[in-house]
């Protein structure tokens, strides 16, 4: 449980979206220029030959992935005599609230790992620096990544993040429970009809097969996925208006709420109860984050499998996010540090297969398509999802708006309001928040 809790917290930053960071003392001046083609800033991360630099790297990998990350950094340090990276780890939730203060006071890190949906906020606040030259030097382009991941690192036509990995939701199923209900445990349902048929069978054998959690983890994220499966979006193209009360959204929400009404799911599912019930054989299916794979591996008595999300709506889609490397602007720009940081980002990006063992899908296509990655069966099983993953849009200050989105689903799932009413109310509030954001960030 603790693992699950950690993982959940680890990701809590994503959706709850902790605004952003740091001082703008540099916003208008030096920070950017140090990275724009100046020779002193290095060659975009190919190598670094200057004097020895010490780099601080902040991240939020507190779960099993943290150890793997630290080992990778140790390996990097031993291979680079003139760059020493030290890793500082906080829980994501603390991480995003500590970072602004640290950067303001000049104690911030040089490199920061950041979720994709935070990049725009931090970029708008001038906390992180542009990395177009790194991408260029690494000869990275959209083709090397899933397009959505690659585009997610861009804010106002400039790149701020180099994607390290991607973490979509997966479809977890309990094989023992399926078997007991007479279902083929090696053939998880993949369509709407198969899904409801399976749930009906499960119900006959006395199992509520799909617990709909009212909370962001994981019911809200499930709704997020289904809304896109029905062809809806959370916001319009400019992220100026919320659209999660459109017809497809209401249909997706209604389908989930009906799961409860039809008795496929119990009502009033508590936080994490859906996942605990899957593990303990009380339900059969759970849409949950890829990070649960490592947790399930620790419970050998559970017979489970993971597959891409079934297609319930008219198209395939899943919630996903991505960890990105960013370089933090400093009060006094040190070009050596910046080039050292770029070397590190470059190196780690190339070693993202090792990172995949931490339970994430590597961002790089070549790694994803290699035999070694395919030898990680559970994780590579979710890789195909990236072609249609719905990443959160790049817009500053979106965290608060996402909370509104998740809360309106909460009210619908708990039966406090009808899906239509809950989503309408949510959109009204979200639009006010988006307007406030526009005033605040000026775009």
């Amino acid at each position: 449980m603790i693992q699950n809790e950690m993982s959940r917290r680890r990701l809590l930053g994503l959706g709850v979206g902790l605004g952003a960071a740091a001082t703008l003392t540099l916003a208008g001046c030096g920070g950017g220029s140090s990275t724009k083609g100046s020779t002193a800033a290095g060659n975009g991360g190919k190598d670094y030959t200057g004097p020895k630099v010490d780099l601080k790297l902040w991240n939020g990998f507190t779960g099993g992935d943290g150890d793997i990350f630290k080992k990778l950094v140790e390996q990097f340090n031993s291979e680079h005599q003139n760059i020493a990276v030290s890793v500082i780890t906080y829980e994501w939730q603390d991480y995003y609230s500590k970072l602004p203060g640290a950067v303001t006071s000049g104690n911030g890190p040089d490199i920061a790992v950041m979720h994709m949906d935070q990049l725009a906020t931090f970029a708008a606040r001038g906390v992180i620096t542009e990395l177009d030259d790194v991408a260029k030097a690494l000869e990275l382009s959209e083709g090397d990544f899933a397009p959505t991941v690659w585009k997610g690192g861009i804010y106002h036509d400039k790149r701020y993040g180099i994607p390290l990995d991607m973490h979509p939701m997966g479809f977890y199923y309990n094989k023992a429970v399926m078997q007991k209900a007479g279902l083929d445990p090696n053939k998880p349902p993949a369509t709407k009809d198969e899904y409801t048929a399976a749930l009906t069978e499960l119900k006959k054998s006395g199992v509520q097969g799909f617990w709909v959690s009212p909370f962001q983890f994981t019911g809200g994220m499930t709704f997020y996925s289904l809304l896109h499966q029905w062809g809806g979006t959370l916001f319009d193209g400019e992220v100026a208006k919320a659209t999660f009360n459109s017809d497809p959204a209401v249909e997706a929400c209604t389908w989930l709420v009906d799961m409860i009404k039809q008795g496929f799911s119990p009502a009033n599912v508590g936080q994490d109860a859906d996942y605990l019930a899957l593990k303990s054989g009380k339900n059969a299916f759970n849409f949950n984050g890829i990070w649960q794979i490592n947790d399930l591996k620790k419970s050998p008595q559970v017979q489970w499998g993971v597959a891409p999300l079934p297609q319930i709506g008219s198209q395939k889609a899943t919630w996903a996010n991505s960890h990105n490397f960013t370089i933090v602007k400093q009060r006094s720009a040190d070009n050596n540090k910046v080039s050292g940081a770029k070397v590190f980002i470059n190196w780690l990006s190339q070693h993202s297969l090792d990172w995949a063992k931490g339970g994430q899908i590597p961002a790089r296509k070549e790694v994803r398509e290699g035999a070694e990655f395919k030898a990680l069966p559970e994780i590579s099983a979710l890789a195909p999802e990236l072609e249609y993953a719905a990443f959160p849009p790049a817009s500053p200050g979106l965290g608060e708006v996402m909370t509104t989105f998740y809360n309106s689903f909460n009210e619908a799932a708990l039966g406090k309001k009808s899906p239509k009413q809950a989503l309408d109310d949510g959109v009204n509030k979200a639009n006010k928040q988006l307007e406030d954001n526009r005033k605040k960030y000026g775009s």
Binding site: G17, L18, A22, P214, P266, G399, E400, E411, L414
Partner: protein, 320 residues
Amino acid sequence: MADVIEVGAARGDAPPPAGRTRRRGATERGHRATPYLFLAPYLVLFLVFGLAPILFGIWISLHQWDLQLPNRPFIGLENYRDLFSSDSADYADWWSSVRATAIFTVLSVPLLVVVPLGLALLLNEKFPGRTFFRAAFFAPYVLGVAVIGLLWRFLLDANLGLVNRLLGAVGLPADTPWVTDVPWAWVSLVGVTVWWTCGFNAVIYLAGLQDIPAELYEAARVDGATAWDRFRHVTLPGLRPVLLFVLTTTILASANVFGQSFLITQGAPGEQTRTVVWRIVDEGLRNYDVGQASAMSVLFALLLAVVSIVNFRLFRYRED
């Protein structure tokens, strides 16, 4: 006072008559400065860590103050106006969090004042194992809110939790949504808080009870007072200052509730159990809108000040 005069006298080297008047002047000056000198260490701390941040907070609340944006324009009372005008994005959230906090405070304070008092009266009796029970009732208080939050979230889970299972085992309804629906969520939050913190108030009561002279009870017994009479006429008056202390601190503590609802109900349903402090933390530390968060804090502090003043007035009235 005497010390001051002696200091003055020891220093006096002028002839007695003139010295006398001068000494009196010096004495008065010393008299005036001395308390401040004694106060000085605390006063400095208070000014630096108390008053200055309060004033700075009020100043911030008059700005659109974001930790990282370079412009922090002065906007007057706009942050406050947002909290009172129904067309702002913050209005509904703010008042729903005030409502949640008020509900929790009104429900929890009477229990947190009365239950520990009963507990303290029991634990003040002499019986075998008394120390064990004192420790047992105080024990939950040493746990952090994160521990009790996670613990109870799972115990109270509607579908998997132990509480519903036990209720079902004795034939009671086993599907109560303890953490996801009101009013059950309030029952859970208040119940958990009483279980968690009543040991602390009980310890304070115990200390107060032990300060009441035993002779008073003996005299009352001699006069033929029943247990109830002794409680009413000896215990309660003896505890009055302790009661005022417990009531005031408990109201303030309950009004500052945050961790319990954050962890146990996660604000559900919707945002109905999301409290004021949670809202302020969200606004200031997650959205970095420190100006708005400060305005909320100032307004909340004013509300609590009013409540505390009313509380003191009521007690004084009873004393008269």
